[in-house]
């Protein structure tokens, strides 16, 4: 077996996605720290629209796709269907998404629609590649089915985005832009990103904690509730049909409660204490509970109750920066060094002394990432509730610190990539050297 070349290709595919995502995250949280009103104002303003799309297309989508090109073959237990298709996806996304964000910033919806079509084409190629990969072994597991459903909602969200831009530009008439926008946001954030989070967690949480998997029946129920919620909310949002919205919000809350219960069960069955990246991940999971309440309020238009005055932007801020960003940052702390290790060290295991995966990222920076994430989420919650610019600015600054810690750790991988630390089996470790893998 020669694992080296294959892992090299895998890493070379995912790292550009990660690099794009990380650069966008640094720009995004810096922008939020400079202008915290972006986290609490309605998303119709041009700057808010650009900010939202920088978050989704610049930061989260590339990172999720970079991970998906690794994880979906793992979940499906089959090789990626087309590596060339994945590269095509990356090139289209890299070329079009900055232009789309720029067009939205200038309120140029005709250009937005054009670049949106290019982004949609790349997404379609990527989704097709991943869906075929997921289906190769036809394994009907909750994580596999959950990922395919998440990809389905992504395509719907992208299609709605293009339609929305055409409506805004006046090329298409007969649609209510506000209703389309609500559905576009719901399909993207809930259908794709939350759906992916749920499905991936079912596989990776027990794997990283060395625990027993949770209950399959409960996992199926969570997926059923999430997707039922989306199928109820779609006509409910388009037709402003309150009973459907009520049912959809109820199903969404049930899905979130079921997911949190499943994570709790997995957590209690663990053999391994969560490391810093997993703790960062769990901060995001914990923020899901208040975010779901705000989500239900936003869907039902409960602006005047005890929830934030503007639930829609509050929901976006909470889901993106409170839930998904910590979850992605946490998983990045596991996946990125793993890919680098596979690329540079996997071919040597059993033949030479090589570092452990956990040696590739500095624990102090991982701890800093966690310690910056906790106040970031707490300040964000308080900030969106009170619509307090100073609190939101502090939340963004804290998240910037967390992102910088990840960036520093990623930069620290370079020596391993350029000059791998491989020692002969017989040699004694240097004084103070960390433990190495494969040391018979």
């Amino acid at each position: 077996m020669t694992p080296g070349p294959n892992f090299r290709a895998q890493a070379l595919l995912s790292f550009p996605f990660f690099g794009l995502g990380l650069a966008a995250l640094l720009a995004l949280v810096s922008w939020a720290a400079l202008d915290p009103a972006l986290l609490s104002t309605p998303t119709r303003a041009p700057a808010s629209l650009a900010f939202v799309h920088l978050a989704v297309l610049g930061w989260m989508a590339p990172f999720v796709f970079g991970a998906a090109y690794q994880l979906i073959p793992v979940v499906a237990e089959a090789p990626l269907w087309s590596r060339r298709g994945a590269w095509f996806h990356f090139v289209l996304h890299l070329a079009a998404s900055p232009l789309l964000v720029h067009a939205l910033f200038r309120s140029d919806f005709s250009a937005g629609a054009l670049w949106g079509v290019v982004v949609a084409l790349g997404t379609f190629v990527g989704v097709t590649d991943l869906a075929i990969t997921a289906d190769r072994r036809s394994r009907w597991t909750p994580e596999n089915v959950g990922l395919v459903l998440a990809l389905f909602w992504l395509l719907i969200a992208v299609g709605l985005g293009v339609l929305l831009a055409l409506v805004r530009a006046g090329h298409v008439i007969g649609f209510d832009a506000d209703r389309l926008r609500a559905l576009h946001l719901t399909c993207g954030l809930v259908g794709f990103f939350l759906g992916t989070l749920f499905a991936v967690s079912f596989k990776l949480v027990p794997m990283f904690l060395l625990g027993r998997p949770g209950g399959r029946f409960r996992q199926w129920l969570v997926l059923a509730a999430l997707n039922a919620a989306l199928f109820l909310l779609a006509p409910g949002l388009l037709g402003e049909h309150r009973p459907l919205l009520l049912l959809g919000a109820g199903a969404l809350l049930a899905a979130v409660v079921g997911f949190l219960d499943e994570i709790f069960v997995m957590f209690t069955r663990r053999l391994r204490a969560p490391d810093w990246p997993m703790r960062t991940f769990f901060v995001g999971v914990a923020t899901l509970a208040p975010s779901a309440l705000v989500g239900a309020a936003a869907l039902l238009g409960m602006e005047t109750l005890w929830l934030p005055a503007h639930p829609a932007p509050a929901l976006f801020a909470l889901v993106v920066f409170g839930v998904l960003t910590p979850c992605i940052l946490g998983m990045a702390g596991k996946i990125v060094p793993f890919l680098a290790w596979q690329w540079r060290y996997s071919a040597h295991i059993g033949r030479a002394r090589v570092p452990l995966v956990t040696d590739l990222f500095r624990p102090a920076l991982l701890r800093l990432q966690f310690l910056a994430t906790v106040p970031s989420c707490a300040l964000l919650l308080a900030g969106v509730w009170l619509e307090s610019a100073p609190l939101l600015r502090l939340a963004a600054a804290s998240q910037l610190l967390s992102a910088l810690a990840l960036a520093a750790n990623v930069a620290g991988l370079l020596p391993h990539l350029l000059r791998p630390r491989v020692e002969p089996l017989a040699s004694a470790p240097a004084a103070g050297a960390p433990p190495l893998a494969s040391t018979p």
Binding site: V74, M207, L271, R272, I349, G350, T358, A437, S438, P440
Partner: protein, 107 residues
């Protein structure tokens, strides 16, 4: 002077596999309970069955390759076959006391 090579046994193979450390968990594969079976033929043919902790984890192919490399260095080995079994599935109960201690130490 006795120059006969040491006798190759399943126990010797298992002992050697203690040196194969899962680089993500930092515990060796034997104490993780990932070695389901080891057989050694009188002709030095070694067959090892690995029980993956999570089906589909890409690290398992790497570990299988490492196991092959380690076993093939043992004296008296003529052939090595490393495969996977999935049933009954791996559970944390398979982790040995030493493995649990190692996990606790890293926690």
């Amino acid at each position: 002077m006795n120059s006969a090579p040491p006798i190759l046994t399943a126990a010797a193979v298992l002992e050697a596999l203690h040196g194969l450390i899962d680089p993500e968990v930092a515990v060796n594969v034997v104490d993780l309970g990932m070695i389901a079976d080891v057989t050694v033929s009188p002709f030095g043919e070694v067959s090892v069955s690995i029980l993956p902790t999570t089906p589909g984890c890409p690290m398992h192919d790497v570990l299988a390759d490492g196991a092959r490399a380690i076993i093939s260095r043992l004296p008296g080995v003529s052939a090595v076959d490393v495969g996977f079994v999935y049933s009954p599935p791996w559970t944390p109960d398979r982790i040995t006391a030493a493995g649990r201690e190692a996990l606790q130490a890293r926690n």
